[in-house]
Symmetry: C2
C-alpha cells in the first residue's frame, strides 16, 4: 500500500470516519485511497471554510474528531477562520493538508507556500510527514493530538510523494487519556469560596453539558450561589430537564452590571469574563476588581468529576438540583417580527433533541429567555468571533447528529461568508432549517461604531455597514445551491415556514425579513 | 487627529485612494476616519477573499497599490488565498489589519490571534503599529514597501488604541525607486546566448506588457529566437498591434515537448519553466537538461530598459518587431459549445482596451490562439494557483479601469470560492461580463487524478470531483446578489449574451452550460 492508503487506514482504525474535503491535485492519491478503502464518509465542501467549520460542528455533537482534506497552503488559508473558531472552542480536528512532493518544493511552483507557517497560528499540533513509512505513525499522533482534552487542532501536512510512495501497515491512535482529575485541595477551596456572600459558579466548556449542569444545580441548591455560564460555549445543553445558567451578556455595560454583585467566583471550565472587544474607557475584565476567582477545574480537566466532588464536599450529593427548566415552551405568537416574537417561535418549535447553531449576532441577543423551557436541545455558539460559522457548523452537526433536526440561526452578513455550505447540506440531504435574519446590514457594527466613540456614521461609513444596494435575495441564493427556500415577513409566516423546514428531511432556508 | 485619521491621510497623501474593505469593530475608528476625510474610494466586499483579490486585480491595471481593510486575524485569514495569488503575481497591496487594543490582547478575547504570524507567509513586509504617534510613518513605510519593484504585499497591523489615540500630522511615502538597471555584462551575455541555435527569449512579469513586447519583437526579428512567455503572467498585453509570445503550456508533457528543442534561453522577467505540480515520473523542470539559462533581467529589475539595451546590442534598435498581431478577429461561430467555438466568440467580441480575467481552468486552455488577433486587450491570469481569483480580481480591475470593459472567465468550481464578489460588482455598478463555464465538476482534477497515476475514480472519488447533485444554478446565484444573468447553451446564444453583457454599464453573468 502507498502512504495515502496507510494514512486513510490509520484514520479509520482510529475511529476517524468522516472526512470533510476540498481536495486538489496534490491530494489525489489520498482521494484515490478514500475511494478504495471502505469506512470513511467523504463530504465535499465547495469552499474550505465550509470544510473546517463543518469539522468544528461535527466535534461538538459527535465528541470525536473528523478529518479535513485541504489543498496546500491557500486551501488551508481559506479554512483558517473557522479553524480559529474551532481552536477557541477546543474542538478536536485532524487536518490533512496536501503539499508538493518534497523534491518539487525548491522550485517555487505557483502553489508553493509555507504551509506549517500558515497552520501554526490556528493549530495546537503541526507536523509534516516527509516519509511514506512514517505517515501512519504521524497520522496516529495527529488523532491523539486532536483528542487530547478538551480537544485540539492537529494539522498533518502530507507531501504528494509521501502519499504515493510505498508504505508499511497502518497504525492506530492510542485511546485518549482520561481528563486530569482535580486535586482535593482545589475542591475544598472551591467549597469555601462558594460560602462567601456574592458567590457564583462560572461554567464553561463541557461544564454546560447535561451531566455537569446537574451537579452545578445541586451545588446551587446547597449554597444559593449564582450559576453563570460564559457568553459563548461550544455546546450548551438546554431546555426541559436541564439546569439553567445565566449567560454573561455580550454588551460590556450589561456584563459589568450583571456581575457587579459578585465577590467570589468558582471557575469550572470558565475563565474570568473578558470583554469581546476593547473600547475606550470600558474595562477588559468585567467582574468587580475585588472579586476573587477560585479555579476548580480548567477547561481541559475533569469538570464533571470536579463538580461531583464539590457537591459531595458541600453535602449536596443527594440534593435535587436547583434551576431545572421545566417543559413549558411559549405559545406561538402572531403579528410583526420582533426579537421577542422570533424567540417565542423558536422556543415553541425547537424539536426534542434538536440542535441550534447560533450565529444570529445582533438579532439573537434576546433569544435565551424564551427558549429556556423549550424541548431539550443543544445550542452551539461561535467561539472565536469569526463570522461565517453557523452554516458550516450546522452541516457538520447534522452529519454527526445522524437525523437530529438542526436549526441554523444566521445573520445575512455572517451568512454570506460561507454560503457555499448550503450546497453541501443539499448534497448530503441534511435536515437543517436555516433562518437568515435579513436586516441588510452589519447591524452589530452600527452599535460598535457608537460604542467605540467613533460617532454617527456618514455616507462612506454607512456604505461599509450596510448590505443593501443591492439587497441580497436569500431565496435565490439558496435555490442556486439546490436548497428549497421561503420567506417570512410576520411571526405567523415564520412559524409556518419553520414547521415546513423541520418536517422536511432536507435543508430548508427561511429568509426572515427584518 | 487620532491615529486612524493620520493613517488615512497618509495613505491618501501617498496616492493610495482605493480601499477594499470588510471591517469589524476593531476597525471602526478607521472607518470613521474614512468617513470624514475625503479622497478614498471605499469598496465593501462581503468576504475578505473578495477584498484581497480585488486589490490584486486593481494593481495589475492601475499599477499602484490599493489598501485593504481587514478584521483581525480571522479576517486576514479569509483573505490569505488571494494574497497568496497577489504575492506570486508581485502585486503591491497595503493591508490594514485591525487588532485589539494593546492592553486587551493579554486577556485572550475570542478574536485574539497571532496576526503577524498569519500575515507573514503571504506578506513581504509586516509591522504592528503600537503607537498612534508612529502610525503615519508606519503607513508611509507600508506604501513604500508595497511599491517596491515589482510590487510587494505590505501588512500593517493597527491596534484599536493606536487608531483612537491622539496622533501627529500625517506622513507621505517616498516616491518609488526606479527599477534596478541591468549591468552591461548581462546584456552582452544575453546577446551571445541568443545567437546559439535553439535560442529563446522567455518573458515574465512586465516583460509581457506592451512596451517590453515591442523590444522583444525587435530582438526576435534580428535573431530569429523564439519568444516565450511564462504560463501565467500578471497581465499579458495582447491583441492587435502587440507582439505575440508562445505561452509555455500548463500540461507537463506538452510543456516538455514544446521546450524540447531549446538549447539557450534568455530570461527577462521569466524563470526556468517549472511544472505546476509534481507527478510521479514527470520532471519538475521542463526544459532539456542541457539547456542553458542566461538571466538578462529578474522580475524586479528594469526589464524594458534591459530589452532595449539588448536590442541595441543586437543592432535591432530600428528593426520592425516580428510576430506582431494584426487586427483580425475570428468570425462569430455557430452551433454547439466547444472550446474552440467559445474561444472564437471571445476573439470576436473582446472590445478595444478590454480586460480579460482568466480563471477558466480546464475549459480555457485553448483560448489563446483564437484571441491573438482580437482587439487590443489585457489578459490577467491567476498567479498562485489558488482558485477563487477571477471574480474578485475582475472587480478590482474594473475599478482601476474606470469604465473599461472587463470579461471574467470563470469555472463553476473556482467561481464558488468567492462568488460574493458579484454583489460588489452590482453595488459598484461595474461593467463586468462574467462567463461561468458550468461543467459541474472540478474537471481539472479528473485529469490530475489520472496524471498522478491514482487510477480511474470510483464513487467516493467521483463525488469529490463533481459539483452535481445538486447542480449549481448560477443564474439564481447571480440574481441573489443583484446581478442580471442569462444562460448560453449554444455558441449563438453565447455571442448574443456576451453582446448584451458588454453593452451594459453594469455586471452581467452568463452561465455557459457545458
Amino acid at each position: 500500500m502507498n502512504g495515502a492508503e496507510s494514512l486513510v487506514r490509520t484514520l479509520i482504525a482510529s475511529d476517524v470516519d468522516v472526512c470533510f474535503a476540498n481536495p486538489g491535485t496534490s491530494e489525489m492519491h489520498f482521494v484515490a485511497a478514500l475511494d478504495h478503502v471502505a469506512g470513511m464518509r467523504c463530504v465535499l465542501g465547495l469552499f474550505e471554510g465550509v470544510v473546517t467549520g463543518a469539522a468544528d460542528g461535527y466535534w461538538r455533537i459527535a465528541g470525536k474528531p473528523a478529518a479535513t482534506l485541504l489543498h496546500l497552503g491557500p486551501g488551508l488559508g481559506n479554512g483558517l477562520a473557522n479553524l480559529h473558531n474551532a481552536k477557541k472552542a477546543r474542538s478536536g480536528i485532524v487536518n490533512i493538508v496536501g503539499e508538493h512532493a518534497a523534491h518539487h518544493i525548491r522550485h517555487d511552483a505557483p502553489l508553493t507556500a509555507d504551509i506549517e507557517g500558515i497552520a501554526r497560528p490556528m493549530s495546537h499540533w503541526v507536523r509534516t510527514s516527509w516519509n511514506a513509512r512514517d505517515v501512519a505513525a504521524d497520522g496516529a499522533r495527529a488523532v491523539e493530538a486532536a483528542r487530547t482534552a478538551p480537544g485540539q487542532i492537529a494539522t498533518l501536512v502530507l507531501p504528494a510523494d509521501t502519499a504515493w510512495n510505498a508504505a508499511d501497515a497502518p497504525s492506530v491512535a492510542r485511546a485518549p487519556a482520561p481528563r486530569a482529575q482535580v486535586a482535593p485541595d482545589a475542591v475544598r477551596a472551591a467549597a469555601a469560596a462558594l460560602k462567601v456572600p456574592g458567590a457564583a459558579l462560572l461554567l464553561g466548556g463541557i461544564g454546560v453539558h447535561e451531566e455537569a449542569l446537574a451537579w452545578a444545580g445541586r451545588i446551587a441548591a446547597a449554597t444559593g450561589c449564582r450559576l453563570l455560564s460564559e457568553y459563548n460555549c461550544p455546546r450548551y445543553d438546554r431546555g426541559a430537564g436541564r439546569v439553567i445558567t445565566q449567560r454573561v451578556p455580550y454588551v460590556v455595560d450589561l456584563a459589568v452590571k450583571s456581575l457587579a454583585d459578585l465577590r467570589s467566583v468558582v471557575l469550572a471550565g470558565g475563565r474570568p469574563p473578558v470583554s469581546f472587544f476593547a473600547y475606550p474607557d470600558k474595562p477588559s475584565l468585567q467582574a468587580p476588581a475585588d472579586c476573587v476567582f477560585t479555579r476548580l477545574a480548567g477547561v481541559e480537566e475533569d469538570i464533571v468529576g470536579a463538580l461531583e466532588a464539590l457537591a459531595a464536599e458541600l453535602g449536596a450529593h443527594g440534593v435535587a438540583p436547583a434551576h431545572v427548566a421545566r417543559l413549558d415552551p411559549p405559545g406561538l405568537p402572531s403579528g410583526k417580527l420582533t426579537q421577542e416574537g422570533i424567540a417565542a417561535v423558536l422556543g415553541a418549535l425547537i424539536p426534542e433533541d434538536g440542535i441550534v447553531v447560533d450565529e444570529s449576532v445582533s438579532t439573537g441577543r434576546g433569544f435565551a429567555a424564551l427558549t429556556t423551557h423549550a424541548r431539550p436541545h443543544g445550542w452551539l455558539t461561535v467561539m472565536g468571533g469569526s463570522i461565517g460559522f453557523a452554516l458550516p457548523a450546522a452541516t457538520g452537526a447534522a452529519i454527526a447528529g445522524g437525523g437530529r433536526k438542526v436549526i441554523a440561526l444566521e445573520g445575512d452578513g455572517s451568512g454570506m461568508y460561507t454560503l457555499q455550505a448550503l450546497w453541501t447540506m443539499a448534497r448530503e440531504n441534511l435536515p437543517v432549517t436555516v433562518l437568515v435574519f435579513a436586516n441588510r446590514s452589519y447591524n452589530i457594527l452600527k452599535g460598535e461604531l457608537a460604542s467605540v466613540g467613533a460617532g454617527a456614521p456618514g455616507q462612506r461609513a454607512t456604505d461599509m455597514l450596510t448590505l443593501d444596494r443591492p439587497d441580497l435575495d436569500w431565496r435565490s441564493l439558496a435555490r442556486g445551491m439546490g436548497v428549497e427556500a421561503g420567506q417570512a415577513t410576520t411571526l405567523d409566516e415564520l412559524a409556518a415556514q419553520m414547521r415546513r423546514g423541520l418536517a422536511a428531511a432536507a435543508p430548508y432556508l427561511i429568509e426572515v425579513v427584518l
